[in-house]
């Protein structure tokens, strides 16, 4: 019973923040500054999601996450498909784990 309560409660508090913008966003005509803020959100959010989180993937081994992150950075400079960027960062981490950590 406790488990079901936890699951349903978690589902509600997760869906509500996701849903709120769908309910009100198009009811207003937003000023230019707000539209600039909205347009900037993806860049700000991804910046915050990436750093310092990528260093904490393995708590005692920040270099492992750093290596994976740098690999992704260099591969994405080459304009490779996103799957290859992911594969590259996964591969370097597996190699480093195998040989060093």
């Amino acid at each position: 019973m406790k488990v079901l309560l936890v699951i349903v409660g978690m589902a509600l508090v997760t869906y509500i923040p996701r849903l709120l913008p769908a309910l009100f966003l198009d009811r207003f005509q937003f000023p230019a500054w707000f539209r600039k803020w909205l347009q900037s959100i993806p860049y700000a959010a991804l910046g915050a999601l990436i750093f310092p989180g990528v260093l904490l993937v393995e708590k005692d081994q920040p270099l492992l996450g750093l290596a994976g992150g740098l690999m992704a950075f260099f591969l994405s400079l080459l304009n490779l498909h996103i799957t290859l960027v992911m594969a590259g960062s996964i591969s370097i981490v597996i190699l480093l784990q195998y040989f060093f950590f």
Binding site: G9, A11, A44, V54, M71
Partner: protein, 240 residues
Amino acid sequence: MESKPSDLEIKSSSQLVQGIQAGLPIFLGYFPIAIAFGTLAVQAQLNWTEAVLMSLIVFAGASQFVGVSMFLAGAGVAQIIATTFFLNLRHLIMSLAVNDQMRHFSGGWKGFLSFFITDETFALLTLGGGDHRSERRTPTYMAGLMITAYLGWVTGTAVGGLGAGFIPADITTAMTVGLYGLFIGLLVPPARKSLNFAIIAVSSMILNWALGLFMDAGWAIVLATIFAAGLGIILIKEDV
């Protein structure tokens, strides 16, 4: 009578296929991590159906790991739910950006698609797709992308919960770095084209790191996103 499908149908089925293709990297990234989640959930005395139910109706990786760990540690119901709420508040900000692209969708589509907003689907929907981004803003494309990601999470949980797949900790670590690779791979190309967006992203990293020194990581991400995106108000000159 000719039984040619209408232009609209052709368009909408190819949009679905494109959406599914776009969502595949997330499917592959989620699947092994969901196996690890399913394994952990069963170790925390949830049964298989409960683990799968959680992935089906919550669909939020980080908070599911935290929720199950708290459950294992004997935390109370309210405590777990409150933690989940704060951990997922960032989705409110992300949903603003995603819903901004869904302005012309019906209310039903918006409510339905909003359920599937995660860090990864948000990242792909806002920054993925390169220069063809705006043509792809259709309900079918977005549904294809998001449901593909969702299926990776749910099926992975089912496999892990059954104990059918064991994912060593090293592999989970590597796959988690893979999801960071997704974020980086999506952020770098547009940030290279626009100095403003590069400045916003780097400022957000620094701000998030600084805020994280004296507050919870979940709050730091929310505040860093709000304030760093605020830089856009000053930096972006043209009307949008």
